[in-house]
């Protein structure tokens, strides 16, 4: 399979008045097209920094990231990014929110409009397109946020703790929802989370980062033997506990 993201010898140092913070060091990782990779690690290990570098929002101090064979040097339309909260603009309708990316990229054409309508229809938001975000449930808002990202047609989706603002039940449902959308639209996904169960349930591979400076400690290929795998069915699989134990040990959490 094609390597869509290549992270090569990546390092990141932040400068502050109190000194230098070594956030990431010597990260090497290849991500294949269509793959779902989740990244877990102790808090403050630079997980979100890694996503920001892949997205081109910040420049690494060492090494480089290649997307589709090209070095990342700024934000790119190939990459969509989902943040911790949905950040739907409360002064815009759902449709207005969803077209935000297209507006910014000055890419409102009959084609993109049709695609937007198609996404709204397929994912059950069409009837709500004229509603305001405050009139939607948390799960629907998250779905609207995903469609806002998908409508610009990125090849790679970055999810930065994208579900952590939701309560547990909603979160499970949204995991299921978003996972099926990502698979259906055939996107490559890189998800940062601090939730081990969530990472295993959704990912093809789980990357464990070490404490700061963050570097790759271990990569687990999640092989769960179910047809039509979904996050919920993965959670019920016998292999799930095994991976959970392994990653838990690897993370070496102390209270």
């Amino acid at each position: 399979m094609k390597k869509i993201v290549q992270i090569q010898n990546l390092g990141m140092k932040y400068q502050s008045l109190n000194g230098e913070i070594n956030a990431l060091t010597k990260i090497n990782l290849d991500i294949h097209e269509g793959e779902f990779v989740s990244i877990v690690g102790p808090s403050g290990c630079g997980k979100s920094t890694l996503l920001s570098i892949i997205s081109g929002l910040i420049k690494p101090t060492e090494g480089r990231v290649l997307v589709d064979g090209e070095t990342v040097s700024g934000t790119s339309r190939k990459i969509g990014y989902m943040l911790q909260k949905d950040h739907l603009f409360e002064w815009r309708t759902i449709q207005g929110n969803i077209r935000l990316g297209l507006e910014i990229q000055k890419n409102i054409t009959p084609d993109t409009k049709a695609y937007m309508e198609h996404l709204l229809q397929t994912y059950g938001l069409f009837e709500f397109r004229h509603k305001y975000p405050s009139q939607l449930s948390g799960g629907m808002r998250q779905r609207a946020a995903l469609i806002r990202t998908l409508v610009t047609n990125p090849q790679i989706l970055l999810l930065d703790e994208a579900f952590s603002a939701l309560d547990y039940q909603t979160r499970l449902a949204v995991n299921e929802d978003i996972y099926s959308i990502i698979k259906k639209e055939n996107k490559t996904a890189i998800m940062v989370t601090h939730d081990i169960a969530e990472s295993i349930s959704m990912a093809d591979r789980v990357v464990v980062l070490s404490r700061r400076p963050g570097t790759i400690k271990e990569i687990y290929s999640i092989e769960i033997d179910i047809e039509e795998r979904t996050p919920l069915s993965s959670r019920e699989a016998p292999e799930f506990q095994f991976y959970f134990q392994e990653i838990w040990k690897e993370l070496d959490v102390h209270v």
């Binding site: 929002l57 934000t75 943040l83 603009f89 002064w91 815009r92 935000l100 910014i104 405050s134």
Partner: protein, 276 residues
């Protein structure tokens, strides 16, 4: 956002207990309103009676009947609405200019962190300086006329607006701005798509504050230079010892200020609370 307001309007009663509750809420409302009106009536009544019985000297205190008389006289002379209009126009220009210019300057300060850092001590000093002290300077520089009055008004409301709107900009969730950058947006797009629409309620709020401040600016300005307007009538009345004229002007001023404030509140309701 608007839901909390809606819940306050009583719906149809759903049970006897609910009906009793709604009735008690209505009674409470009526009690408050009646008391408010009573206070007004008693205050004006006492004032009138005390003046009629010469307990107080109406030459010094004026009295409600004379205020009404003065309003009629001014109207007959054909100058009543002229004075009101002059003051109102000056105020409206003042608070609109203050809000618009303040917002524009706030945008500049947000745009360049360097300018913002440089400007900070100056803003602090200008904010704490009593702007009325600048009155004579404006008169000398601009000349005694409506322009000086409007500049006076602007001086009072501008700095407050800048600080208020700038704080609104700073309070906007950084992640919303990040969202625009992720889509490859420029700083202008951040301004247009996030900053201004998100700060719209703040700007309208600044407008509300500025209505009050502009009245101060206009009246002070009129005290200093004018030949017409309610402030002019107040100063003139004081100088020639016609307290009737002073009281009348203050009375009209109160009503005009209240009407204008309510106008802005209504505007806020239309544009902020119910988008589209």
């Amino acid at each position: 956002m608007s839901n909390t307001k809606l819940e306050l309007t009583p719906g149809p009663a759903t049970s006897p207990e609910h009906e009793a509750f709604l009735r008690s809420v209505r009674m409470e409302k009526i009690k408050v309103r009646v008391t408010q009106i009573l206070i007004l009536v008693i205050a004006f009544g006492l004032w009138e009676i005390c003046a009629q019985l010469r307990i107080v000297d109406p030459f010094i205190t004026s009295q409600p009947s004379r205020v009404i008389q003065t309003i009629f006289t001014l109207h007959q002379e054909g100058v009543l609405f002229h004075h009101i209009a002059v003051t109102c126009v000056e105020t409206i220009i003042g608070f609109l200019l203050g809000t618009i210019l303040g917002t524009i300057i706030a945008v500049f300060l947000w745009w360049s962190e360097f300018i913002s850092k440089v400007a900070e001590p100056y803003l602090v000093i200008l904010n704490s300086l009593p702007k009325i002290a600048l009155g004579p300077i404006f008169i000398v520089w601009i000349g005694a006329g409506p322009a000086a009055i409007i500049v006076m008004t602007l001086a009072i409301s501008l700095i407050v607006t800048i600080l208020e709107v700038l704080n609104g900009f700073i309070a906007i969730d950084k992640e919303k701005i990040k969202l625009v950058h992720i889509f490859g947006g420029s700083k202008t797009q951040v301004l247009r798509k996030v900053l201004l629409p998100a700060s719209f309620p703040t700007i309208v709020n600044a407008l509300k504050i500025n209505v009050g401040l502009s009245w101060v600016g206009v009246i002070v300005g009129e005290f200093l230079v004018s030949k017409a307007g309610l402030g002019y009538l107040i100063v003139y009345g004081g100088q020639v010892f016609r307290l009737d004229l002073v009281m009348t002007s203050v009375f009209i001023l109160g009503i005009a200020a209240a009407v204008m404030y309510q106008g802005v509140v209504l505007f806020e309701k239309i544009v902020v609370k119910n988008p589209k």
